[in-house]
């Protein structure tokens, strides 16, 4: 009965991951991240994802600020921000966010302000969703890790 919790948590996590993959929120790159995590860097995934969140929020803020500017929308700067966001999203496997960035970039290259505003909304939405899902994932992981603090010799999971 004691080992039951860990199994359940792991199942929860896998189910969530499977769902995220299925929805296209995450792709295989995320698995690569997980594989890079080991004893010498046990928090690698959460570290990278945290940095990603910080950077993304900064970029999203900048994008919105650029678009609100009615006078002279700086599409080039927007493009730079988008490239950054795309690059970091693809590095952690944030598939849907990256795809929205691609659409956004197409709009900005055509200097289509209305289109940009629309895609920005979608981008923010996708980002929020990703963030909440990753939080969920990390919380399950945290519980699992905390639970692993006490070891019983019989349960070799």
């Amino acid at each position: 009965m004691l080992g039951f919790g860990a199994d359940r948590l792991r199942a929860d996590m896998n189910r969530l991951l499977a769902l995220l993959f299925h929805q296209g929120i995450l792709d295989e790159q995320f698995l690569q991240l997980q594989q890079l995590q080991d004893e010498s860097s046990p928090n690698f995934v959460s570290e990278v994802v945290n940095i990603y969140f910080q950077e993304s929020e900064r970029l999203l803020k900048n994008l919105r600020a650029l678009l609100i500017e009615r006078e002279l929308t700086d599409y080039k700067k927007m493009g730079n921000h988008l490239n950054q966001l795309m690059g970091s999203s693809s590095s952690i496997g944030a598939n849907r966010v990256r795809n929205v960035c691609i659409a956004f970039r197409a709009n900005s290259e055509q200097n289509n302000r209305a289109g940009c505003l629309g895609t920005l909304e979608v981008l923010e939405h996708e980002y929020c969703y990703l963030k909440s899902k990753l939080h969920e994932l990390f919380q399950i992981e945290q519980q699992r890790v905390l639970g692993a603090g006490v070891r019983y010799p019989m349960h070799q999971n």
Partner: protein
């Protein structure tokens, strides 16, 4: 480790020339303006057991390259669509620092790739870089070393047999024109120097003045006599070795050839690297607002929506080298974790925005706040994370290695992992 001179039979080579160790400990300089990508890259490289120095700033990278105290075996640099800093690095490498450079980019346009290769990149990898690709970059290092001197194994044998080295064949020759003349006498312990980028020899940087003296010497000599040894004698500079002159001669010849044929593209592109565009990209960088990423307070999200426009302009993301060498540590002991395993309970209760993962109530999944458009996080910040965990404490967990693996998935990945084992 010291290198003995050619008198002795045994050569103790610096760590990354030891053939049983190589490529472990390969010294890599990694450059990417995007901190997330850089962090990922660094992790990959550390997984390969390379010694990594990383920076987001091109200027810092160039400084490191030119710094005599640092030496690298290979450079990996990012190049972006609008960010031509990567090509700047390539140029620096071309001009004197003779190490292989690998480009990484999210941009897969053929033109960019072509340009990268033409400007001297050993390889052009697309983001996100895979572990498999990165594992092989040592080959570029080895290939370059073997070009400069013959098969190192053969070399060592010869040295053990003969005391002075009288002559040596060059397997593939950079300076083909010189070969005929230079083949005879070369008590050349320098050939180890030339490729050992980790040997503590002051790096020669070809300043304008030095280059001018080179050109003077070059022009003094007739066509047939323009060999490194002669130029070296004419220049009479104690800092220079024959190899320095040889590689510089090669580059000079290439440059002259290009001038002669008026290669439009490359010459035109060289103008990118003039002062003005360097300035422009600097401005762009600072306006891109690089936040300093603190490793300790990682769970503090920026207060969204509160900061004014002013905060958008930030300082450059400048990682002075000593700090960043935190990444470069190669030991496998677990790093001191300021944040404990995973992530912890909320640190800052004041903000109405969620501050950590720990406070994430399970029942909140899937709720997208209406004000997502304005980045308003409506997720409540409740402190009751304890309740969720306490029942599940007393469980033996599995090892950290297989994270998030179900049994079936675990088998697949176990195979992958065992393949990776060094």
């Amino acid at each position: 480790m010291e290198e003995k001179d050619n008198g002795s039979a045994k050569i103790s080579t610096p760590e990354n020339i030891q053939h049983d160790q190589f490529p472990i400990g390969l010294k890599v300089l990694a450059i990417d303006a995007n901190i997330v990508c850089l962090k990922y890259l660094v992790q990959l490289l550390q997984k390969c057991q390379y010694k990594v120095t990383a920076t987001t700033e091109t200027t810092e990278a160039i400084r490191l390259l030119n710094d005599e105290k640092e030496s690298f075996d290979i450079i990996i640099t990012n190049v972006g669509r609008n960010d031509m800093d990567g090509f700047k690095i390539l140029e620096t490498v071309r001009q004197g620092i003779d190490i292989p450079a690998v480009m990484v980019s999210a941009n897969e346009q053929l033109e960019m790739v072509k340009r990268g290769v033409m400007e001297g990149a050993e390889a052009y990898l697309l983001k996100p870089v895979s572990f498999q690709e990165l594992r092989n970059i040592w080959q570029h290092v080895l290939r370059r070393r073997c070009r400069k001197r013959p098969n190192p194994n053969v070399m060592e044998q010869e040295l053990e047999q003969h005391k002075p080295i009288i002559s040596h064949e060059r397997a593939t020759v950079i300076d083909k024109e010189d070969d005929a003349i230079d083949k005879n006498i070369n008590i050349d312990s320098n050939h180890f120097d030339s490729c050992s980028s980790s040997k503590k020899k002051p790096r020669v940087s070809w300043t304008k003045e030095l280059h001018e003296r080179f050109v003077v010497a070059y022009e003094q000599l007739g066509e047939k006599e323009r060999v490194p040894n002669n130029i070296l004698k004419l220049m009479n500079d104690p800092r220079l070795s024959r190899e320095n002159v040889a590689s510089h001669l090669q580059k000079h010849r290439d440059m002259l050839r290009k001038k002669a044929t008026g290669a439009g593209k490359l010459v035109g592109k060289k103008n990118c690297y003039d002062r003005n565009s360097i300035k422009a990209s600097k401005i762009q960088n600072s306006m891109n607002q690089r936040n300093n990423v603190s490793t300790i307070d990682q769970f503090q999200f920026s207060n969204l929506g509160r900061s004014s426009m002013e905060e958008v302009q930030g300082s450059k993301n400048y990682y002075p080298v000593p700090e960043f060498k935190w990444f470069a540590s190669n030991n496998l002991m677990s790093k001191p974790c300021d944040q404990y395993l995973g992530f912890g309970p909320s640190n800052n209760m004041n903000s109405k925005y969620p501050q950590s993962f720990g406070n994430w109530p399970m029942d909140n999944m899937g709720e997208i706040p209406e004000e997502a458009g304005h980045l308003g996080w409506a997720f409540p910040n409740n402190n009751t994370n304890a309740g969720q965990c306490s029942q599940l404490q007393l469980v033996k967990g599995s090892s950290h290695v297989s994270l998030l693996m179900d049994d079936e998935l675990g088998d697949i990945f176990k195979q992958f992992q065992s393949e990776e084992a060094f």
